[in-house]
């Protein structure tokens, strides 16, 4: 693309960043309950990444196409680490978990299932999810579970950028034109009903004191972040009823079935295929 590309072969340094492969090589095994927790986080990341990757070749500008693709890829990386770790408890690979589970076995929150809609809705969803991920991972780095802490340490730096991207677009759409502000408002209204679920505590979190981040503790910091951004973007917090929750129990929206059908079809037709 640019002249910088010629230099890159000599300056590639992947650093010591954690990857799914390294995690597997380390031979670590997740305790059962910890694995269930990692599965929730992993499914959130996986389904959001799948949704975001839809934008590749469809974004309003090629630069934005790449930005959303980057965010999808980062998020998929988080999913791979989390699902790999979860799978160690059940002797299942990340692919087993991603491609060979049915809808009701997924533990993602319903907000990540919501259709992309237009750019405004995608930005609204990214804003909420990146604020949530940021607050979550910045606490999970202190987890007593070393693997979860390491995954969070890698992820938090990336979601920091995702949040910045979403904030920048929220501001531009919010104070842009009548059209852009209208789309941003509609997008926020569409995804806002799924907020509560992100902050719902379960017995699982009681069992994982010191290991998991208690979802209810994230509500105040996430909401504060969102309110500040919306105020600056001259947008209001939508007054909408909260939807019925259940994603963490395998109760999902219709949209997830279609998403999984597309995501899993190739792996199911050609099990074990690599390329």
């Amino acid at each position: 693309m640019g002249s910088v590309g010629q230099d890159s072969a000599t300056i590639i340094s992947a650093g010591s960043a954690l990857t799914a492969e390294k995690l597997l090589d380390s031979g670590v095994t997740a305790p059962e309950r910890t694995a269930e927790y990692a599965l929730r986080l992993g499914d959130d990341a996986l389904i959001l990444a799948q949704r975001l990757s839809w934008w590749i070749s469809r974004a309003p500008e090629i630069e934005e196409d790449i930005a959303l693709g980057n965010i999808a890829l980062d998020t998929l990386g988080h999913a791979r680490m989390l699902l790999t770790y979860a799978g160690t408890a059940w002797d299942r690979s990340e692919d087993d978990l991603a491609y060979f589970r049915t809808e009701e076995e997924f533990r993602c929150a319903q907000i990540v299932e919501v259709d992309n809609g237009d750019f405004g809705r995608t930005v609204a969803k990214n804003l909420i999810m990146s604020a949530y991920f940021y607050e979550l991972y910045s606490r999970l780095v202190d987890s007593a579970d070393e693997t979860l802490a390491a995954i969070a340490a890698k992820a938090v730096k990336e979601v920091d950028y995702h949040l910045d991207h979403a904030v920048q677009w929220t501001l531009r759409l919010g104070i842009g034109t009548e059209e852009s502000a209208g789309r941003m408002r509609a997008g926020l209204r569409d995804v806002w009903p799924y907020l509560d679920e992100l902050f719902e505590d379960e017995p699982l979190h009681d069992d994982l004191e010191g290991i998991a981040v208690r979802p209810s503790t994230l509500r105040a910091p996430v909401m504060e972040r969102l309110e500040v951004v919306l105020a600056e973007a001259e947008l209001e917090v939508p007054e909408v009823k909260q939807a019925r929750t259940g994603g963490r129990r395998g109760e999902h929206r219709e949209a997830l079935g279609f998403l999984l059908a597309e995501m899993q079809s190739l792996a199911r037709q050609h099990p074990g295929a690599t390329w």
């Binding site: 640019g2 910088v4 230099d7 500008e61 920048q168 531009r172 852009s180």
Partner: protein
């Protein structure tokens, strides 16, 4: 995105908007920006390419996404393309002719004087 040696021209009339980073322009009006990246082992920013963005803040982020994907850089500059003045590639011969044949402008042209040790 373009990667020619000469900066591509931004659409006419976009200059003031891009320079001030004012209200984002419409889809077909995003102005062009030149991106400079300082490599992690380099001292100066090097032209990496160009891109479209609604304003300076977004241009920096797009520059990061496009030109630092493989850990190439530690710093990014963006400049509105419309603010770059470039020499005319079609007039290259005349423009640079004067420098040719003037070897005495290079240090290697000169022979070292006798007795000079540290040069």
């Amino acid at each position: 995105m373009t990667s020619e040696n000469t900066p591509a021209q931004a659409p006419v009339g976009q200059q003031s908007e891009s320079a001030t980073g004012g209200a984002p322009a419409g889809r077909h009006q995003w102005p062009m920006w030149e991106v400079f990246v300082r490599p992690s082992r380099g001292l100066s920013h090097v032209h990496a390419g160009s891109l479209h963005a609604p304003d300076a803040q977004m241009a920096l982020r797009n520059g990061r996404d496009l030109y630092t994907r493989r850990n190439e850089g530690v710093s990014v500059w963006v400049v509105p393309t419309a603010e770059v003045s470039a020499s005319d590639p079609d007039r290259r011969d005349a423009f640079f002719e004067s420098a040719k044949g003037k070897e005495y402008r290079h240090a290697t042209y000169y022979t070292k004087s006798e007795g000079v040790k540290h040069l």
